[in-house]
């Protein structure tokens, strides 16, 4: 009797223990995604309503020049941010992989911005990029009097300042991922190649970098995720301006949902953002989940 009761307890207890998290996943993840999706098909304005209007909010969204501008900015920011972070991160990882003395200290310096809030990063760079007090004034006072670096107040260039600050914050993180990848490579292959007369450049371009494909992939995913969610960095650095020139989807969603009382459009923009993340993620997860079985 007591034995069977105990078995019963051990049978139910694990399920009981994970049940709060199951509720979280069902309600706060899937339920909420569903709710947002439903709202995006209604004519909700200040309050949620359940008058379904089909794809009307999506049509309004994609006819809104501000949204198109925000998507365009995300594309510019995303491509440059991911591309530069990957190149810089890889180069730094390779440089650090040459038996560097004080590697730990250097790594610590490269990576510390990742411990900062994007709000802090934005505050620092807003000041450095401000032409009247920051880098521009410094270079002018050094004697180069025609020097101009006013991207942050120039609507055509402001989005690139977001890239500068973003790369400063996240490139060290990419370096850490790549360094871990480099350290995971079987050194006997590299030694064999070097014995065969391959030089260092060839070893990297022919052997090491191709074998790090999964690491590139996961770095890409992490960076794309940061880029699509980017909200705080832009708010702190430019506030979306000058004008709407650095608007991104996350700011658009926030303002339409919480400041303009256009829940329907806000929900539609949120669904598009989710779809964008899924479009990048699902192929990755698919390949990730398949590989262990092959290997």
């Amino acid at each position: 009797m007591s034995v069977s009761r105990k078995k019963g307890l051990d049978y139910w207890l694990p399920k009981l223990v994970v049940s709060p998290t199951l509720v979280i996943a069902l309600i706060f993840f899937y339920g909420f995604i569903l709710w947002t999706t439903i709202i995006s098909f209604t004519n909700s304005s200040f309050l949620p309503s359940y008058d379904f209007v089909g794809f009307e909010q999506y049509v309004r969204l994609f006819l809104n020049p501000r949204w198109l501008n925000a998507m365009g900015n995300l594309l510019i920011f995303g491509v440059l941010f991911i591309g530069i972070c990957m190149i810089v991160g890889l180069l730094m990882a390779i440089l650090l992989d040459q038996n560097i003395r004080a590697e730990g200290a250097i790594r610590t310096i490269y990576l510390y911005p990742m411990a900062l809030s994007f709000i802090v990063t934005g505050t620092i760079w807003k000041w450095l990029l401000n032409p009247t007090v920051g880098i521009e004034r410094f270079v002018i006072s050094m004697g180069w009097e025609t020097f101009v670096f006013d991207w942050i107040i120039n609507p055509d260039m402001a989005i690139y300042t977001v890239v500068i600050a973003g790369v400063w914050q996240a490139s060290g993180f990419v370096m850490a991922i790549f360094l871990a990848g480099l350290r995971g490579i079987d050194t006997s292959i590299i030694k064999a190649a070097q014995l065969d007369g391959a030089n260092l450049f060839a070893v990297y371009t022919r052997i090491i970098i191709p074998s790090m494909r999964p690491v590139f992939f996961s770095a890409f995913i992490m960076l794309a995720h940061i880029a699509i969610k980017s909200f705080d960095l832009v708010i702190a650095l430019t506030g979306g301006g000058p004008g709407n020139s650095t608007d991104v989807p996350a700011i658009f969603m926030y303002q339409f949902s919480f400041q303009r009382g256009q829940l329907g459009v806000g929900a539609a923009s949120a669904v598009i953002m989710l779809m964008t993340v899924l479009a990048i993620l699902v192929p990755y997860l698919y390949s990730e989940l398949r590989t262990p079985k092959n290997g």
Binding site: K6, L9, D10, L13, P14, K15, V17, T21, A25, F28, F29, F32, I33, T36, P48, M92, L95, L96, I106, T108, I109, Y110, L111, Y112, M114, A115, L116, S117, V120, T123, I124, W125, W127, L128, I135, R137, F138, S141, W168, A176, I177, A180, G184, S218, A219, I228, K229, I235, A236, P249, A250, M253, Y254, S257, F258, G266, S269, A270, M273, L274
Partner: protein
Amino acid sequence: MAKSNNRGYAKINGRAVLYGVLIIIAAYYLLPLVLMIMTSFRSMDEIRMGQLIEWPKSFSLDAWSMAWSEVQIGAREDRGLRPYFLNSIQMVIPAVAISTILGALNGYVLSFWKFRGSELFFGALLIGCFLPFQAILLPQSQLLGSLGLAGTMTGLVLTHVVYGVSFTTLFFRNYYVNLPHELVKAAKLDGAGFWIIFFRIILPLSAPILVVTVIWQFTQIWNDFLFGVVFSDPSSQPVTVGLNNMVNSSTGEKQYNVDMAGAIIAALPTIVVYVVAGKYFVRGLTAGSVKG
């Protein structure tokens, strides 16, 4: 002989260039922080007259005390970043504790007490690691509103727990799966139950992953801005929101020394954690991307 000597020189030169490049890159990362610290100790007069990169002529803590407890932020009565900083502490401690405990228990069950559907449950939970939070902001604010938790600290902590539990579960589960399962099997045969095994065997082995998880959660929650700005009101706003309001309130002349002191205050806890336990911080960062 001469040839090998040349080669030796080339090698040494190569190393010098390598170290030179590494130091220049290090300066690129460090300079903003150094300038920020130096500026925070200067007076506004000196900043106006002086240079961006210049050793402070005077040394004063005025900007720090302004940022901490004197500067007017918005319309609130309590001045300075202090109330926001205290809010962040009140928010981060319960949120980290609860999400870490949940993660540890989930990871334990998902590794040693698998049941039908537990793998599916784990997979379904992982969406929380990738979810763009915009997709849940609207319903979460509706829910908090209907529970009477809108703008409260409790609501903010709940939000951070809910959207942090995926990562904490992932960390613990991936760590526990690699522990020797014989340990738990033997204990089960000896009649040890769920909690005994957890507290006597698993928890004592969990120190490294516990540190990784706590640091990860602490950094994420302390640095969060989105949840802070959407789900809190002035009585519960975290320090990131306070800093942003302080820097972007456009009354009077910009006080860059105060802004920089404020930015350092907001960043100090996570920087300290990073300096003290950087190894674990990096492990947390890479655990999410390079799966073990």
